[in-house]
């Protein structure tokens, strides 16, 4: 009854990271990151030491949720793409496979056209990776590492 869990394994993570790393280069972007629809950061690349990716992830998800709500009211399916133009930084937000959100932050060294083009290709790749990840999670025997934890483990977390 609770939502299916989102799980990330090393193999898929490396594939996703490779896509994100390449997108930073190919799109001349400053930062690229991927967030799930609940605001959890999945992967990031580029100049990430100078930005608060956790906050951005949560706000991006809030933004997508809000536009999704607007789409519903307008009987639209979903607004899959958003673009915000700033004085120095621009943000391109793309919903991928209705599951995750791909965010590209870029400046005047790049252009919206280039970003759009590269995002399109990256989205297709990401879609495949997330599809196979989802299948893997649903396979029987894909147990949560938390199946083994004891009440004591949980209590210990709070004993300080």
């Amino acid at each position: 009854m609770i939502n299916p869990q989102m799980v990330m394994y090393e193999e898929e993570f490396n594939q996703i990271q490779a896509v994100v790393d390449r997108l930073v280069r190919d799109a001349n972007a400053k930062v690229v990151f991927i967030v799930d629809k609940n605001g959890q950061l999945i992967a990031a690349s580029g100049d990430i030491d100078n930005i608060d990716t956790t906050s951005l992830a949560s706000l991006t998800a809030g933004n997508i949720a809000a536009t999704g709500g607007m789409a519903k009211l307008l009987k639209e399916n979903e607004f899959a793409t958003q673009f915000h133009e700033g004085e120095k930084a621009n943000i391109h937000i793309q919903l991928v496979g209705n599951r995750v959100i791909l965010v590209v932050i870029f400046d005047s060294r790049s252009s919206l056209g280039l970003v759009r083009l590269r995002v399109k290709k990256a989205s297709e790749e990401l879609n495949h990776i997330f599809e196979s990840l989802l299948k893997k999670v649903q396979e029987p025997g894909a147990d949560s590492p938390f199946a083994e934890i004891t009440d004591e483990d949980i209590d210990n977390l709070f004993n300080d």
Binding site: M1, I2, N3, P4, Q5, M6, V7, M8, Y9, E10, F13, N14, D36, K37, N38, G39, Q40, I42, D52, T54, S55, S58, L59, G62, A65, A66, G68, G69, D143, S144, P145, F146, A147, E148, I149, D151, D153, I154, D155, N156, L157, F158, D160
Partner: protein
Amino acid sequence: MSFINYMAREINCKLVYYGPGLCGKTTNLQYIYERTNPEAKGKMISLATETERTLFFDFLPLSLGEIRGFKTRFHLYTVPGQVFYDASRKLILKGVDGVIFVADSQIERTEANLESVENLRTNLAEQGYSLDKLPYVVQYNKRDLPNVASLEELRQMINPTNVPDFEAVARTGVGVFDTLKAVAKLVLTELKKGS
């Protein structure tokens, strides 16, 4: 929806503070933020109106420590309490792993509390959740005020199913961490069940 990341060896969970307008949800988060070590917390974000009423949500990422080599990270959200922000509340409940209902103990807020619990139940049901199956705790806030209902009355009205509940004075922090720990514990226990 919790997110288990084998690569980063961390587990992420989403907790939502729910309750009527001005019951003290944002104050809970502010207290937690103030009392948490810098390395265990991220920035607190408040999307608020100019008069500091929550407009969309407050957000606070917290790390609670490790279990079996996995970092436990909790994302705390509050909802805007006013009735007309219902669409936003629904959005914030998406993918929730645990709920804290913050009640305003003042007698004149009785109806607002009841309306809000009912609204919580309805909004969860719309997304296929049942409040009776979700990790859920109740906090009776503002116990410091003179015009408050008794604990028994509040329990009867707001907590008929007897989930873990706590008296609190969020402004000074009384009961704030007890409430958080209780719901975090329920969420982790739920993960253990492997639902």
